[in-house]
């Protein structure tokens, strides 16, 4: 059955450096789709171009050529304010270093995307409480980010990313700064969100354990997609082994 992909990347290239100077091509023609409800991982070593790719998908950067469509919007044609609005309404973002605002309480951090869309405080409250209940962070809503643990911070960040019902959730090494237990918690939580609410997730990571939670993994190397791995009916442990084997041969 053919469905409209939620993310569609067509032959994108990204070159750094001005013409005439020494140029560096970070992305050399990337093509892939993400279907609705999918949990996709992008793996690659440092410098492979995966962060550049994610920045382009999140309109934080623009490709030199090629097209990107997210939720039926062509990103390369968006103007400045449209790009900001796109990030605010269509994309949820979880970063390695949490990116929480330390001068706002956790509640205010989560409610921020809603207030940016001018949702009234009254209307925002049930939304924040709903997501807080779902992620079990109700008890720490009134604290400040500096008063909670790294794992809790990442849950707050996830709540902030999900509160405005994004079309897709991007994760940029979200477990990178977490201990193994917190990392496992977060990944399980992402899986639940993905399966129960059908929010597609795109995870950029170099950690095989994180990647083992994905249904499909794209391996990126030197600016091109090398291998693609599907989990299929394998359980997570078996898939983890497959990833390790692939990484061994891929690199």
């Amino acid at each position: 059955m053919m469905t409209t992909p939620i993310v569609s990347v067509k032959n994108i290239r990204k070159t750094y450096g001005k013409a005439g100077e020494k140029q560096y091509e970070a992305l050399k023609g990337i093509d892939f789709d993400v279907q609705p409800g999918e949990f996709v991982g992008i793996m690659g070593a440092s410098g492979s171009g995966k962060t550049t790719l994610l920045n382009i998908l999140a309109t934080l950067d623009r490709p030199t050529s090629g097209t990107v469509t997210v939720n039926q919007r062509e990103l390369t044609t968006l103007a400045g304010n449209q790009m900001a609005d796109f990030r605010a309404t269509q994309v949820g973002f979880i970063f390695q270093d949490f990116n929480l605002l330390e001068n706002l309480t956790n509640y205010e951090n989560i409610a921020l995307p809603l207030s940016l869309q001018n949702v009234s405080a009254k209307a925002a409250e049930p939304e924040v409480n709903r997501i807080a209940k779902q992620l079990s962070i109700e008890a720490i809503l009134d604290k400040y980010p500096s008063e909670i643990s790294g794992g809790q911070k990442q849950r707050i960040a996830a709540a902030r990313a999900l509160v405005s019902h994004p079309a897709i959730l991007f994760g940029d090494e979200p477990t990178g700064a977490l201990d193994s237990n917190s990392a496992k918690d977060l990944l399980e939580m992402l899986t639940t969100v993905n399966q129960e609410q059908h929010v597609p997730v795109l995870l950029v990571t170099h950690d095989p354990f994180s990647a083992s939670y994905c249904q499909r993994i794209l391996f990126i190397k030197d600016g091109v997609i090398g291998t693609e791995l599907k989990r299929g009916n394998q359980d997570r442990r078996a898939f983890y082994q497959t990833i390790l084997d692939t990484l061994g041969t891929f690199q």
Partner: protein
Amino acid sequence: MVLRKLAFTGIKSRIKDYTVLFFGLVISSAIFYMFEALATNQDFIKANGSMVTGASFIFQFGSILLTIISLVYIFYANSFLMSMRRHDYGLFMMLGAKQRKIGQLILTETLLIGTLASLIGIVVGWLLTATLGNYLMDQMFSSKLKGFEPFFLPAAVATLALYVILFLIAGVINRFGLTKTPVLQLLKGDSEPNRPTLKKGRQLIQVVLGVALLAIGYYVMANMKLLVLMSIPVALVTIVLGTYFLFNAVFVWLVVMLKRLPWASKGLHTFTLSQLSFRIRNYTRILSIVSILFALALGAITVGIGFQRQITSMATAQSAYTLVLSDPSATVKQEVKKLDRQLTAQYDQVVTKKAVYFNADQFKNQPFESVSQESQIMNQAKAGRLQAAKYQKISVDKMQKNPQQLLLNLPNWQRSKAIRIVSGNRFSRLSGSQHKVLMLRVADLSKSQAQLKVVSEKATGQAASSLPGTFAMFTEATALFGGFEFMGFFLGIAFLAMLASCLMFKILSGAASDKRRYEMLNKIGTRPQILRRSIIQEVGVLFALPGILGVIDVLFGLQMFRGLLLSPYDQLWLPFTLFLFLYIIYYVITVMMYQRIVVPKVKIDK
């Protein structure tokens, strides 16, 4: 050497921020030089003893204040400098640079910038003194003051010495501050939490204390007789402390209250409010200082302008005539014709040993005028408004009943004689020496002052006017109050430039650590224009608060000048507008620089 090269590339990459910092330092030292050029030039002060009465005291007072402000200014400028360099220094230390080497680097860098800035500042100050100083003097005294030298070596030496010493101190403080900080903290910057808590009891005490101290300060200023000269330091101390407590208590409370309003949940308002409460603890001290400086600067300009306006009002309310010329010669009459006159009358006199006689018929044709009741200086002061004086015509009957009112309009040598106004018939039969008096009033005293000077010099052969009429009064008052005004303007603008720069650099030194926050906001989809608006509001509050308090301080502070100024509250809008205009320019520059530092640029190639 690698390290030095690294340091210079660090500076190169932030050349714009350094330019602003450097520019601010140059302006600061230029103003200091300008001030010193006047304050330390004894020739100038002595030569204009009558003109700048009490100037010595005011100059010294101003000089001390300016030194203190310069210290505060350099301190904040320096912390801005450091906030830009923290990360670099952290990096050098991580790379294994010895603490001593880093210390040397900091000291060299700070001293180099300081010396260079003050040298350029002295040159700028010299040019400013030569142009602006002369212009101000031309405007106020319509002549140059004697002994006024745009370039004055002792002032240049004093400026350079003070700035180098201040920078040396700042450099040493930086060195110890930075080398004692752990490397990791330097790299990560400060992100300490600041929970705005409401401790009701403590806050209430602070509010009560703040208001009480302010009340004492205002009361002391309004009742100068109580403590006389001591009231100035007492008022300064109580008002500074009162302001500080009030800022500390009310501000946090206000932010918490505002956050509860529905308004707060719209757009970035929560963030803006949090930013403010996040900073206010760091800011209460500088905001208190700035509000006091604001008051001093605005007060200086207001009082200066008040004195200036008083000169014309006081002079024109003295008599209906600007000049009274006795037996003017043909050349004098020639010069009189060039004056823009409102009223000219010539009367014949017969002078005997005991009396001066006037012809009543001449007063019928050219009525004598006097200052109207409402324009009398005492009545103007009571009404609290200074206006251009109004004049009334006096009937011949009244003149004859009270001829004494002519007295002040007579030449000096006639004043001891009786004044008689007699009918035309009697007048023609009188025997005695015959004279003529020419009485004239110009349309605008200050506009005509140059030509009036020519006339009075031609008539008396002396530089200073000793002729009857308001012009003499005007020249004397200008000499007396002009010095005050000059000082007021000078001090006012110097203070304003310093305080606004202090505030600017204090705000900008926070910008480096704010950069990350604005980047995050950008990542989660905040429109750049909303980020900009948030900055406009945040910086606006930080500028407005001390401004408002400063204005209140001035309104009360003017009470002190009731003894010197007829109506200190008259036409306040003029100095206030002028001052706010300059203040707003600083605000706009700060907002623009802040935005340039923190608002992320959209990465768009081609």
